[in-house]
Subunit: 387 residues, 2 copies
């Protein structure tokens, strides 16, 4: 197995991008990554595009060759990867394997989603189709309410407070204010966060990430040729994936995500690292409770200590471990199928020390954590600074 | 890069399976493959599921972990691969790379589609969303009419006749009559085929494959452990992928498929073989004209000789090269996202010499060819008999 490096990154600003189509977003991100890497179109052998639901959102399946085509890369075979919210991270994983296997030398991985054209209600319905439609969503169990149940259980079992949930949001908005590509570039005090209207108790508006438009891309090459291109490389050191029951009611525990735990264990094993070695992580905070569970399940804090750790400031920028320096899904935004690639883009920016005011000091290892559905899929990558 | 073998296969009968849900079809095929291979659930490290449009067809995205879950494999990370009609073949390719890279030792690849629950008109509309929706389908250019244009052009340029198109259908129905899993197990004379109602001239009803329900699965392992399981192994010797413009009007030629040509060249190079070495092939005959173009683009016959070759009987069972021994999409059926895996299943059956009355004599190499959209994606695999 060959080692693999990311040598180019690109992403759109995330937001309600009503003046840009999915294909335009995909091209913008893809060409950004290609320019950053300094590869030519002829060198690109394969594209993987993470996307949750273009068929329902914009009436177009088979979007991967469409994006390749409009980027002028019609000779490049392009495949869509779909794992709900983990589509982007899973696309990165496929790209990794395509290069590591020796089948391809230069691969582009991207993610793109256009959530806002169908209206909020329809967008939430489509998102809910990544939970178990027949046994959950049909009966009114939306994403919001399923995560609210996890939050209630976590609060009852571990004493996690509504204030601690709110502090996740405050931190991520504070980081997002420093990210020019974030959807919400504004910090909010805890009082505002806690005073926001309820969505599904105990989760309020500030506990829920938006549904956004956006795209992101990375160029992957085998490690031995990484230095022959322009872009400063970053090494992919570890990769792990995990699965779980589709429906929340089938799971043994709902204060933890089995898929995340398995993915993390596999990624740490492959990288030869432990949680304490990681300097920063982009975790899947589609809800504030998700970040609390994630930082526990990824081994940064013990189970039940996620809330108190957040309250102690242990997850703030340049504290014990910097979590969601990009602003996370909460503030950077949630273009669902692109999220995993957006996370990788942030990790590369940090490891290149290009993050400006939100720069983690002297980072060596970064981790990205991407979840599909309500936790039936998870994928974790560990990235390493090049030199 | 490690070599990879298929050690287990399973598939459902293809048809209008109104009494079985997508998850039931997926489980049936998957458990069939697992039983055939003799692997245990604990050994399976990853699943890839090819599927075109479960989001629109059954209101469920993120179907890969759903199928894994209901098969009792909730610990197994499962990812959906979507490339329109080439979803199955692309899923096989990802499974190949996952094992070849050394990341995984035992992987299940599957394909599943439920086309018939939404009615014929809606199913055709959804299929058309794998062409370019914004620039083709919106204006009424259905799959049928786009392929009809290719047929007209091929007829004008190369003298291909309506009778030769019909003979593809006659041959594939004749093969399908020998396949217990085929949707249509009945042979038809040319007179019936040519007398069928027109769909989009020059294509009649017998020139068009049905839209079907069905699922298929294979178990892949690294070659060095292949013999330690029950199932008789078959080696994956070559793999190639190709791309093209999404919209037919953007392509330079429409009597050939660039994506198929690129995919074939890559697969032959990787296998170290030439077209003349191949004993049989499952090609993507969603329309009769597709088979004519495919057998030319795959190098079995020169451009323009596809029609005459069919007329000469060179593609019949145990002639020059046996094409679509399973019955192909035309007679075996077209569960869209499963097709590429159905093709691999037939190739394994043939190479194991388990095909009964439709057995190719003493086969050494088989090829599978799977197309997405109207040709914007293609993937080719070359399989080799084990001993």
């Amino acid at each position: 197995m060959r080692d693999v490096a990311i040598i180019g990154i690109g992403e759109t600003k995330i937001g309600e991008l009503w003046n840009q189509s999915l294909r335009e977003l995909g091209i913008h991100a893809g060409l950004g990554a290609i320019r950053d890497a300094g590869v030519t179109g002829e060198e690109i052998e394969k594209m993987y595009i993470g996307n949750m639901s273009a068929g329902r959102l914009i009436n177009q399946e088979h979007i991967a060759p469409m994006i390749a085509d409009y980027a002028g890369l019609d000779d490049v075979p392009a495949v869509r990867i779909e794992s709900g919210g983990a589509s982007g991270g899973m696309a990165l994983a496929q790209g990794y394997m395509a290069v590591a296997s020796g089948i391809h030398d230069v691969v582009v991985v991207g993610g793109a989603e256009k959530m806002t054209d169908v209206g909020d209600e329809e967008a939430k319905k489509i998102l809910s189709s990544t939970a178990d439609w027949e046994w959950e969503s049909t009966f009114g169990a939306t994403f919001d309410s399923l995560y609210a149940m996890m939050a209630r259980y976590h609060m009852r079992k571990h004493g996690t407070t509504k204030e601690q949930l709110g502090m996740v949001s405050v931190k991520n908005h504070s980081n997002g204010a420093l990210n020019p590509n974030a959807q919400f570039q504004r910090a909010f005090p805890l009082k505002v966060v806690l005073g926001a209207p309820p969505v599904a108790e105990p989760l309020g508006m500030f506990d829920c990430a938006p549904l956004s438009d956006g795209a992101a891309a990375c160029v992957l090459v085998s490690e031995d040729i990484a230095e022959s291109y322009n872009g400063e490389p970053v090494r992919i050191l570890g990769l792990g994936m995990g699965g779980d029951h589709m429906a929340v009611h089938d799971r043994r525990d709902i204060d933890a995500m089995k898929a995340t735990r398995h993915a993390a264990r596999n990624a740490y094993d492959m990288a030869g690292l432990e949680p304490k070695d990681i300097d920063f992580a982009e975790v899947h905070d589609n809800y504030t409770i998700s970040e609390i569970m994630a930082i526990e399940d990824l081994g940064f804090f013990s189970k039940g200590d996620g809330g108190p750790a957040t309250e102690r400031g242990d997850t703030s920028l340049n504290s014990k471990i910097s979590i969601n320096t990009s602003g996370g899904l909460k503030a950077k935004g949630q273009p669902v199928g692109a999220v995993g690639i957006n996370q990788a883009v942030e990790a590369v920016i940090q490891l290149r020390e290009d993050a400006g005011d939100r720069q983690v000091e002297d980072p060596l290892y970064g981790l990205t954590h991407n979840v599909g559905g309500t936790g039936a899929s998870a994928v974790v990558h560990i990235l390493e600074r090049w030199s």
